[in-house]
């Protein structure tokens, strides 16, 4: 044998020393990294605990139960009784802003995106000018500009004083719609005692509507006649909603008959069995996962040899289940009782809500409306609490995020439209579709399929961008959180709540967008 062959043979047969064994080095490096990371985190957290103790700042989530002694500018509860309630008000404000913003930004963005591709030179130039203006200036600058502009442009609040009675009024439609430099107030529609019973009737209507729509769709597919499946389903739901408005008290029994027994059942559950149940569940999940994993590695020729990565996964699943059991049984027994308590509370709320409003229809309607009013604090008129008040801060943040996101959405819509193959337009023209029909029926549906994932990204950005509200004092979750940690010093806890809240929002949006993404995908045959 030549030299090369010898060395090749040696390389193939001899095992390298352990410190050069790829598998050993790989796992050594990884486990060291993990250990260093965990150690660093533990060290930092301990340091934080020490320095907080040295400054005698209390830690823990106790502040959620304590009166924060703050009053909020706007929201569902401007005088929250506990810290948790205050944060909840902030969260609702953020969600309100994000939901309204996503809705409006989508519509506006689509219009501007279409406008940018318009054959009208002026419209195209204006649209692209708008886009370039919005997206090249920081959102924070936009928000502050809107905030300052609103104060200058809109009339002073309550500037019309009746010379005889001294009553103040505000235009343009006193008592219904107020526009001023303090913001807008409009009538507020809110759910009333009869709402949940009415909701049951609407739910029944929806199920029936779905069935009707399927039937009519089948009929249309069979005969080719236009049967309006979606319209008829909506009609059925509307009929149920209208009828339900008058007969909803008949479902008043649901609270006492269904939810109250469930609540009592949960209330009677002792803690021990729940703990055991949870740990068994953790074990079973891990075992099932490992079984499925091993089954996936099985080939027709028998079980495949497991690589080190596979072993890692199996062992990791085992370790995770063990850690879960230890946490449930030993480290945090409160988890089980917390679970029991909160599900009891949940069903208690349900029982109350569905038990309400068994009186006459007139006393407990599903919805009621409260009109905006004017409140006088000393000499100054201000927006009263009863209407839906959109303050100057709200308006600034709202215009800011909507217009800013609309510019990005417009670019995405333009990209989507241009991504539709030219043949589609030509085919639509060939069969004589009008331009508007073509846009609605041929181009936009295909454009939205391409632009949905980036749109979802913009929705996430919009939701996160509402946090800039802190610059103009709109009481979103970040602003409330900052006020609370300035008062109580619980900075870390507030940060954790922020993080969980925004992660939950991001996750919800991605799940919803993904759902539509999957539905819109071309089904390949």
């Amino acid at each position: 044998m030549t030299d090369t062959q010898t060395s090749l043979h040696r390389a193939a047969t001899e095992k390298p020393p352990f410190y050069r064994d790829a598998t050993v080095v790989k796992w050594l490096v990884q486990i060291t990294t993990l250990a260093v990371t965990l150690f660093a985190i533990a060290f930092l957290v301990r340091e934080a605990g020490d320095s907080l103790q040295a400054k005698s700042i209390q830690t823990g989530f106790g502040f959620l139960e304590v009166d924060p002694a703050i009053s909020l500018g706007e929201g569902i509860d401007t005088d929250p009784a506990t810290g948790g309630r205050a944060l909840w008000v902030g969260m609702v404000n953020t969600i309100r802003m994000a939901a309204a913003g996503i809705f409006l930004a989508t519509i506006l963005g689509t219009l501007i995106g279409i406008g940018r591709l318009s054959s009208n030179w002026l419209v195209a130039k204006l649209a692209s000018g708008f886009i370039e203006y919005m997206r090249n200036i920081p959102l924070l600058v936009h928000i502050i500009l809107f905030f300052v502009t609103i104060a200058v442009v809109f009339p002073d609040f309550g500037e019309n004083v009746d010379p005889i009675t001294g009553e103040v009024s505000q235009g343009p439609w006193n008592g219904v719609f107020h526009v001023s430099n303090k913001g807008f107030s409009v009538p507020r529609v809110h759910i009333d005692n009869g709402f949940y019973q009415w909701l049951i009737i609407v739910a029944i209507g929806s199920v029936l509507g779905r069935w009707v729509s399927k039937r009519r769709q089948a009929l249309q597919d069979r005969t080719g006649q236009e049967t309006y499946p979606v319209l008829s389903a909506l009609g059925v739901i509307a009929v149920f909603a209208a009828v339900g408005w008058f007969i909803h008290p008949i479902f008043g029994f649901v609270g006492d008959a269904i939810f109250a027994p469930i609540r009592d059942l949960i209330d009677g559950t002792p803690q021990g069995p729940v703990q055991i149940l949870l740990s068994v569940a953790a074990g079973v999940v891990a075992a099932l996962w490992i079984r499925r994993f091993l089954a996936a590695r099985r080939t027709p020729g028998g079980a495949a040899k497991l690589t080190d990565d596979d072993w890692f996964r199996v062992i990791f699943a085992g370790i995770a289940a063990t850690i879960a059991c230890v946490v449930i049984l030993v480290l945090w027994p409160g988890l089980s009782s917390w679970l029991i308590n909160s599900s009891r509370d949940f069903f208690d709320v349900l029982a109350n809500k569905f038990g309400d409003g068994r009186g006459s229809v007139g006393d407990d309607p599903p919805f009621s409306v409260s009109m905006p009013d004017i409140e006088k604090r000393g000499n100054f008129a201000n927006m009263g609490p009863s209407g839906l008040n959109l303050t100057q801060g709200f308006a600034a943040v709202f215009f800011g995020v909507v217009l800013y996101t609309a510019a990005f959405i417009a670019e995405i819509v333009r990209g989507g439209i241009l991504a539709v193959p030219k043949g589609q337009t030509e085919a639509a023209e060939a069969i004589g579709l009008r331009r508007s029909t073509m846009l609605r029926r041929v181009i936009l549906p295909q454009a939205f399929r391409v632009s949905l994932p980036p749109l979802g990204n913009q929705y996430l950005n919009l939701t996160k961008n509402t946090s800039l509200a802190i610059a103009v004092g709109y009481t979103d979750v970040v602003q409330v959180g900052q006020t609370i940690f300035n008062q109580t010093g619980r900075s870390l806890e507030v940060f954790i709540i922020w993080m969980l809240f925004y992660l939950a929002c991001s996750l919800t949006i991605s799940v919803v967008v993904n759902f539509f993404n999957v539905r819109l995908k071309i089904v390949e045959r």
Binding site: V123, I137, V148, T149, E411, I412, L418, S467
Partner: protein, 645 residues
């Protein structure tokens, strides 16, 4: 969680880039189309159908009304544009003392020199602007100026001492329309001049010539800048002041700014011309590398050496700093020269692992106070150990090894120089932070990009790695950071960071905020780079495995160069985002560009409550910065041919 979010990643930039491509393609597919005569153009583009006619009329009227309102607002007697003029220095450099202002100009000069060289050396030579386009610009600007002259309402009359005269209803008394028109002589001149130049170019050149003659984008921009700079010589541009006070009443912006700005323009143009000259020689490649490397160093050198003006203790430099640097250069160089010897085998490995152990122990020992060692030495030691660990990947012939050692010597020299400078106390006579205003914005953006880039690469490699623990850790980091708003992270770093640090360690608010920026930006960069990594074909990996390259060699020499090339346009996009995000510094109380306009200027006694003017100026600067960067990124994209299939 990750799989859900992964689905939504990116896509935006790609979608828009593809759309831009398609529009450019369509425009390029009809280059020979002659321009329409004006009336036919109007009919084709504005009045082609009933709907289009209605749209044109509605939007045209709305546009004219909005334009008029904007101008009336901007030229109203209530506007105090002096708040911007007098505070020009405060907006850009905040409290930087004017006695040392030369340092600012030197910094700007360095940046402009490099910019000129880069532009001159650039291989991205586009077609530039056609004369047709330029003449339409002239006509459009001329038309806009003349329309503005006619639309703005007559100015309010002022009494002898400058007070606005009011009538019985407390409305200002305005000039008659004729006087107003006559008063706007200068504006008439500018408008008519622009219009005449535009029309002359259009008519004089003829259709074919104006469509096929091009002027380079950079020379054109330099020309426009020259006109702007020349205005400083004949227009007074209002009063000059510092921190809201007009220092000497007769001293104008013109006096203080004309010389430095002219010098800046000359520097930029000269550097551009020199760059063009070098670009055609065969040295172009190495000069380009040198310029890019200088760009990397510029933020550090200008920030810590030029602007900060450190007081250097020369005795200490001669006794400690210089010998230590030389020792590291020679000692480290020798070790590296040895370790890059081919076929060194196990000995090299053991030496480098030993070095690494000592380097780590140095930090642990210093942390727990076992024995002290200068921070500079610890950093150098760790760097040496890390490079030593990777040294066998660079094994080669004597010449290559010498070059490797030379690179080490260069890195050490720069590192020791910078650390010495950073550790010396500042002598700038400023209240607390010597940077403020636009300087903070620029430096935070620059440092964020420099520091987040390597971290982003590491995270992207981690996330695409086959090693599960690295993958999980990187994914958790990236998704958590991307899931929360930036402002919460900024709060975390600016208010809570010191809680986490051990006793005696403190970190300045600006540095903490910068750290927050870098860590946040890294997560987004990682996603961009991951897109690039996924674009590298499988065959590239297989080929490098077949050549017997190590993982480090494969990643560093084969995969990353290709991946980074693909991700350059999204990286420019990330730079624009960072530039815009710096405005968030205003919320956590750092006096940046936005905060000067929003809080500092309205707080001055002279300009109490004057906010809109400053904010609009801030808008303008941000817009110019972000818009030019995005245009640059579009050109870069076309140059790199990304999106071509």
């Amino acid at each position: 969680m990750s799989s859900e979010l992964e689905h939504l990643d990116g896509g935006t930039a790609e979608l828009i880039a593809n759309a831009d491509d398609r529009e450019a393609e369509e425009a390029a597919s009809r280059p020979d189309e002659p321009s329409l005569p004006p009336l036919e153009w109007l009919r084709a583009n504005l009045f082609s159908s009933v709907l289009n006619t209605i749209l044109t009329i509605v939007f045209g009227l709305a546009g004219v009304l909005a334009f008029q309102r904007l101008l009336n607002w901007a030229f109203s007697h209530e506007r105090e544009w002096d708040a911007v003029r007098v505070n020009m220095r405060a907006l850009f450099t905040f409290t930087y003392p004017s006695s040392q202002y030369g340092r600012i100009w030197i910094t700007l000069g360095i940046a402009l020199t490099l910019a000129g060289l880069s532009l001159g050396l650039s291989r991205m030579v586009g077609q530039g602007f056609s004369l047709k386009r330029i003449s339409t610009w002239f006509m459009a600007w001329g038309g806009a100026v003349i329309a503005g002259i006619l639309l703005v309402q007559p100015h309010a009359k002022r009494s002898a001492n400058g007070e606005v005269l009011l009538d019985a209803d407390f409305e200002p008394v305005r000039e008659s329309f004729g006087t107003a028109m006559a008063d706007r002589g200068w504006w008439w001149l500018i408008g008519v001049l622009l219009l005449v130049v535009g029309v002359t170019m259009w008519v004089g050149l003829g259709d074919l010539k104006r469509r096929t003659t091009f002027i380079g984008a950079i020379p054109f921009t330099l020309g426009v800048l020259a006109v702007l700079v020349s205005t400083l010589w004949w227009f007074h541009w209002g009063n000059y002041g510092e921190q809201g006070d007009i220092i000497e009443p007769g001293r104008t912006v013109k006096d203080s700014a004309k010389l430095p700005w002219t010098a800046m323009w000359v520097v930029l143009t000269a550097a551009y011309i020199v760059g063009r000259q070098i670009a055609v020689t065969d040295r172009a490649g190495s000069v380009r590398v040198l310029v890019n490397f200088s760009w990397l160093l510029t933020p550090f050198v200008t920030f810590w050496v030029i602007l900060r003006d450190p007081a250097i203790d020369y005795a200490h430099v001669w006794s400690t700093d210089l010998p230590m640097a030389v020792a590291f250069i020679i000692g480290g160089g020798a070790v590296l020269f040895l370790l890059t010897k081919p076929g060194l085998g196990e000995v090299g490995r053991i030496i480098s692992i030993g070095l690494f152990g000592v380097a780590i122990f140095n930090w642990v020992a210093a942390f727990f106070g076992i024995y002290p060692m200068l921070q500079k030495a610890r950093i150098s030691f760790l760097l040496l150990a890390l490079i030593a660990l990777a040294a066998h990947n660079f094994a080669g012939e004597r010449k290559q090894r010498l070059r490797f050692v030379l690179a080490w010597a260069g890195v050490m020299a720069i590192l020791h120089y910078l650390v010495t400078m950073i550790n010396a106390p500042s002598t700038v006579d400023a209240p607390d932070e010597f940077v403020g205003g636009f300087l903070v914005t620029v430096y935070i953006a620059a440092f964020t990009m420099i520091f987040s880039f390597p971290l982003g690469i590491l995270l992207a490699l981690g996330r695409t790695s086959t090693l599960p623990i690295f993958r999980v850790l990187s994914t958790i980091y990236i998704e958590t950071v991307r899931g929360v708003p930036f402002i919460t992270i900024l709060f975390f770093f600016s208010t809570f960071l010191n809680i986490f640090l051990p006793d005696g360690m403190e970190i300045e608010q600006l540095a903490a905020a910068g750290l927050g920026f870098a860590l946040f930006s890294a997560a987004y960069l990682a996603e961009n780079i991951r897109g690039g990594l996924q674009a590298v074909r499988r065959g590239q990996y297989e080929a490098s495995d077949a050549l017997g390259l190590t993982t480090v060699q494969r990643t560093g020499f084969i995969v990353l160069p290709q991946a980074l090339r693909v991700s350059i346009p999204p990286l420019v996009g990330a730079t624009i985002s960072t530039f815009k995000e710096t405005s968030l510094l205003a919320i956590i109380g750092i006096i940046d560009f936005l905060r000067v306009a929003n809080s500092v200027v309205p707080g001055q006694t002279v300009f109490l409550g004057v906010r809109m003017e400053g904010l609009l100026f801030v808008c303008m600067i941000y817009w110019v910065g972000a818009y030019s960067m995005s245009k640059f990124s579009q050109r870069l994209e076309r140059h790199l041919g990304v999106g071509e299939h």
